[in-house]
Amino acid sequence: MTGRQVGELAVYFALIIAATPVLGAYMKRVFAGERTFLDPVLRPIERLTYRLCGVDAEKDQTWIEWTVAMLVVNAASLFLLYAFQRMQHWLPLNPNHFGAVSADSSWNTAVSFTTNTNWQGYSGESTMSHFTQMVGLAFHNFLSAATGIAIAVAVIRGVAREKAKGIGNFWFDCTRSILWILLPLSFLAALFFVSRGVVQNFQADVAVKTVEGAEQKIPQGPVASQEAIKELGTNGGGFFNANSGFPYENPTPGTNFAQMLLIFAIGGGLTSALGRMTGSEKHGWAVFAAMSLMFLAGAVAATVFEQRGNPIHQKAGVQALPTEGGTGGNMEGKEVRFGIGDSALFATVTTDASCGAVNAWHDSFTPLGGLVPLANIATGEVIFGGVGAGLYGIFVFIVLTVFIAGLMVGRTPEYLGKKIESHEVKLAMLSILILTLLILGFSAAAARLPAGLSSLNNKGPHGFTEILYAYESGAGNNGSAFAGLNANTPWYNVTLGLDMFFGRFFMLIPILGIAGSLAAKKKIPASAGTFPVTGPLFTVLLVGVIVIVGALTFFPAFSLGPVVEHLLMEAGAVF
């Protein structure tokens, strides 16, 4: 790593550390219904929202009631987005006169945005009207993120409460996530992006003549507003196909840095909210530290391998080390204005969190550089993770860690005073199982079926990595594409749709079940005999369980993909 790369990583990480307690304390207040400085503006809107929707936001819902409310809202919005796409030629704000989106692609996109995956099988600027982008997609950027935050808050409440029937109220949690957290922050971020040159208008494509005299269409649209929530809500669905690599989405290293901050902000803040709401701030920091360890390891590895570049190129005379006016290393698929450091860090951040925004093609990374995003997603995206999803994802691993290691202290395992028993273990295993089954199952099918293989642009282990990445990205609700795989085919649209759908909802229903069952339990007072969920030991244990139970399952698959590709590359083989 160069000095600048180290410095940037250090500054970035320091800012995340600084933001975490601030956001955590704020979120705690918001979800406890306590006063905040935004109340004078937002309270009336909140009350109006409840009245218009005719919901009771006061009632304490059981986990089943809570989950049903959440599923109903998500199902309704899923169908709505499908309908918008199929009917966009009849709807307003379609200056480019795009036709209806195909059925399989609409299904894929509807699921994709509802599940906070934002996998894009389509190319936004040549498919979606401004109406679909704003009312359909941007709306889901908010709703799916708010759903994630709401689930995380409900889970935390389950841990914090004692002998309680309910885990809170979905309407309250969801509405407050949008009004108090997502809207204000994305508003500020959007203003910043506009000031740095991100476009924000309702115009049709602008046709210009290039210097060579050719015709070029320059796409326009309400980009900045969508960009902010794309990062903050870890959605990742870009206005343009090139996502954060496109200058209108991400013009400068400054906006790039801001985008990375937005991606981790809420995921980090929620660890602090976990600590504060359960009365053990140290526990929040222990979880934060576990996430940080994995993040830093990934960021360093990705940068090092990208900077190291490809030995085959070097034999042909390409510079590996940075020089005056040259970056060295592997610049394929990267934006010149970002270079290796910003691209590798962005790739790590976007796959740690289930964001999926990209500013470089992961497909073009060196095999081991590309393994970092792949491994990040394989952890279940618990490294800060998608907003809310990261927290409730790591919650499953916390439950397992507490169970396995908790036995070793000679007591029935307990997590912050709540006994972890067979019911919780069953549900936790279920939610881990579903991801493994989806990713490996679909990848195996795609690797054998002509429908899966025909979309590949690359042979050998790299092609395999592309398939694996697609299903990991879908099931993990990441949404970033390794690219190189033509995913807009009926096979991939349908299977990835299922992958995303089950990967989101079948994973989180068991987790909400755990929250409900923990809420009902009584709290055992902490003593010297209690398994400590704070401190470095717990942090290391948690990382160990995530790596061994979560990611090691994918070791055989990785070794047939990026690992063997790396070894072949070192041996000088080309395909």
């Binding site: 036995l407 202290v409 881990i432 199982l433 195996a444 010297a528 005999g529 244990l541 139970v549 070794s559």
Partner: protein
């Protein structure tokens, strides 16, 4: 049972039947109870079928034959562990059965007595038992007193007294009356007696999975499914890569990855835990009770007999002004020579220790015994009237003789009371000699034990009938965390409820009938075997030695049981890292020779690598049988330190050990030309 405590781990008498049992337990219906081992069984079966096919087709089978053999060995080793654990219980059950002889009972009827076989007795029958007879069934003494030999169940040869009424009325079927005659009311039907239940329990016949064991089984089953998915999908991946993955190799990988170590040893750990409790002469009615003991965070201990020695003892002489210390001791000693109470005897002992005063002949002494009205005792000897007793009584006595009591002595009396001790005022005629302090003596080593318990996060609460002042002084001295003074059975029950309400798990011991509700309410209730039938029914454990401090050991065994499970689970999962590095490069050696870079152990060839991993996986089970049966080493430390320790040994060790083990096995496999 006394012999059982000294039984060697690999006693041939247990090992031989266990080996036979290992084969019997291959029955798929038995294996289906354990999902991990069932997958191994299915795998072994499949590899064997493929082996037969290959033999028929005349292919080279040496490699697959070895895989198949080692998979079967994996199963046998796991079965052996369970059979060993059961065998130890069975050996003890056999010893108990010998004590269960067919006896003839003398049943009382309206017209007199009739002789019936013991098996014909029903609840409510009354039987007569005389010296030399065996008691025909469990019951309560309703008439008479007798000394009873209970060695058949307790292993303790000293006879115990059983009498009607009070807390010593319960008798157990199979024990023998040594003297006198008692009438016993039978309280349990044949087949449900204590001895029957004890035999069933140690044989493991009624063993059910404990809640924690179920949770762990679910975790292991979940991991098994995850690895099944990872292995099954590996074949399509391999075919995509232009290679192949043979079924036996895939099964070998699967069996290596699924947690067979803990899966194979899980039931042995549970049975061995029950067995360890039994070796401490405590009979746990269920595995759940032993497990709950590990979770206990509040211990209720009776003061008398548990924390303190049974009686108060003289500890100090405080002489009055103008009295020589030796004179006080002499007066106190004289007044106590004929006093047969433990307090009196302790005064004589103290006088001898401190002033070398020897006991004298009692002739010519007129001993005045203690009475409730005078509240003092003493002796008239050589014209001296020596008295000792409660402060106010002796003061009144001295004043009646024309003497008076010094203010410093009054202060002394008050001070000793405030310390929780009992002051005895001693006078010789009208002269106040001084004060003898009687104190409860805390048993040696109790403070240390309570410190250990505190380190484990367990609070001890002392239960006593004493007044709060005395109670708090003893509590301080013994180092307990809290006390309940002037305790009644109702208060005891209320205290347990309150602690449970606050999320605590409570353990207690008890023997009396009035303890029964509290014993039933407590999460772990250890009834003394000498206690009443009601107490024994209410508790979920019975201490055959009737030693109340045993509770602490039971708690430690419970903790050890859970720790053993956790440690072996961690070890089992950590093992997977090395197995991946052994098998994966070997599996794809033909397709991607470059993957040999992952062969960090430098295993000789693909076949030896796979074989070594499978052999290691099987052998580690047998290597860990002693650990499963004995339990991991237990130390009374705080959770954080225990965790750190076990994590180093079983977590880090679990990652490293297989790297070394597989490499060693690889050398041997190659040296023997097995691959």
């Amino acid at each position: 049972m006394a012999q059982a405590q000294r039984r060697r781990l690999f006693d041939p008498a247990i090992v031989r039947p266990a080996v036979a049992d290992s084969f019997r337990k291959l029955d798929p219906r038995l294996q289906a109870r354990n999902p991990v081992m069932f997958v191994v069984l299915a795998g072994a079966f499949l590899v064997t079928v493929l082996l037969v096919r290959d033999v028929v087709r005349g292919r080279e089978v040496l490699f697959n034959l070895q895989i198949a053999l080692w998979l079967w060995f994996t199963l046998l080793f796991a079965n052996f562990a369970e059979a060993m654990a059961e065998g130890r219980g069975k050996a003890q059950a056999a010893a108990l059965k010998r004590g269960r002889t067919e006896t003839v009972a003398r049943r009382l009827t309206k017209r007199g007595e009739e002789s019936v076989p013991a098996t014909a007795l029903r609840k409510g029958d009354r039987v007569v038992v005389e010296a030399g007879d065996a008691i025909p069934g469990d019951g309560t003494v309703v008439e008479g007193i007798a000394s009873v030999d209970e060695s058949a169940i307790t292993g303790e040869s000293a006879p115990v007294i059983r009498e009607s009424g009070g807390d010593r009325s319960a008798v157990t079927g199979g024990t023998r009356v040594l003297s006198d005659r008692i009438v016993v009311e039978i309280t349990s039907n044949p087949g449900e007696t204590f001895l029957d239940r004890m035999i069933a329990l140690v044989e493991g016949a009624t063993r059910q999975k404990t809640p924690n064991e179920i949770a762990l089984s679910i975790l292991l089953a979940g991991l098994t499914i995850i690895f099944l998915i990872a292995t099954v999908t590996l074949r399509p991946f391999a075919i995509y890569a232009g290679g192949s993955a043979s079924t036996p190799v895939l099964i070998a990988l699967l069996v290596c990855l699924i947690p067979t170590t803990i899966g194979g040893l899980l039931s042995a750990i549970g049975i061995a835990g029950m067995d360890r409790v039994l070796q401490h002469n405590v009979l746990a009615m269920s595995g759940r009770a032993v497990e709950a003991a590990g979770d206990v965070n509040v211990l209720l201990l009776d003061k008398t007999g548990t924390i303190t020695l049974g009686n108060r003892q003289a500890t100090d002489f405080f002489h009055a002004p103008g009295v020589l210390p030796g004179d006080l001791a002499e007066a106190a000693q004289l007044s106590s020579l004929a006093d047969e109470t433990p307090e009196g005897r302790s005064i004589v002992v103290l006088a001898k220790e401190k002033f070398a005063l020897r006991a004298r002949r009692v002739e010519g002494m007129n001993f005045i015994p203690f009475s409730a009205t005078t509240r003092m005792s003493g002796v008239d000897y050589n014209g001296r009237k020596i008295r000792k007793g409660a402060g106010d009584s002796v003061t009144a006595w001295v004043r009646s003789l024309g003497g008076d009591i010094d203010a410093t002595v009054t202060d002394l009396l008050n001070r000793i009371s405030a310390e929780g001790a009992t002051p005895l005022l001693v006078s010789d005629g009208p002269r106040v000699m001084g004060v003898v302090a009687l104190r409860d003596i805390v048993k040696a080593g109790m403070r240390d034990r309570f410190d250990r318990l505190r380190a484990m996060g367990i609070r001890t609460i002392m239960i006593t009938g004493d007044n709060p002042l005395t109670a708090s002084a003893i509590a301080r001295e013994a180092g307990v965390d809290d006390f309940l003074a002037q305790a009644t059975p109702e208060q005891k029950l209320a205290l347990i409820r309150k602690e449970q309400e606050g999320g605590n798990l409570v353990a207690m011991t008890g023997d009396g009938t009035n303890d029964a509700p509290a014993l039933a309410q407590a999460d772990v209730g250890v009834a003394m075997n000498t206690g009443t039938q009601a107490a024994r029914e209410a508790g979920n454990m019975v201490d055959l030695d009737s030693n109340p401090t045993k509770l602490i050991e039971v708690v430690e065994i419970g903790k050890q049981l859970l720790m053993t499970r956790g440690a072996l689970t961690t070890f089992s999962i950590a093992n997977d890292v090395a197995k991946y590095f052994a098998i994966l490069p070997a599996m794809f050696a033909a397709t991607y020779p470059v993957l040999n870079a992952l062969n960090v152990m430098h295993l000789a060839n693909p076949r030896s690598a796979i074989l070594s991993a499978v052999i290691f996986n099987a052998l580690i089970i047998i290597a860990l049988v002693p650990l499963a049966l004995r339990g991991v080493k237990y130390r009374p430390l705080g959770a954080a330190r225990i965790l750190a320790r076990n994590l180093w040994i079983y977590g880090v060790g679990g990652i490293l050990v297989p790297f070394i083990g597989i490499k060693l096995i690889d050398w041997i496999v190659v040296a023997l030309h097995l691959a």
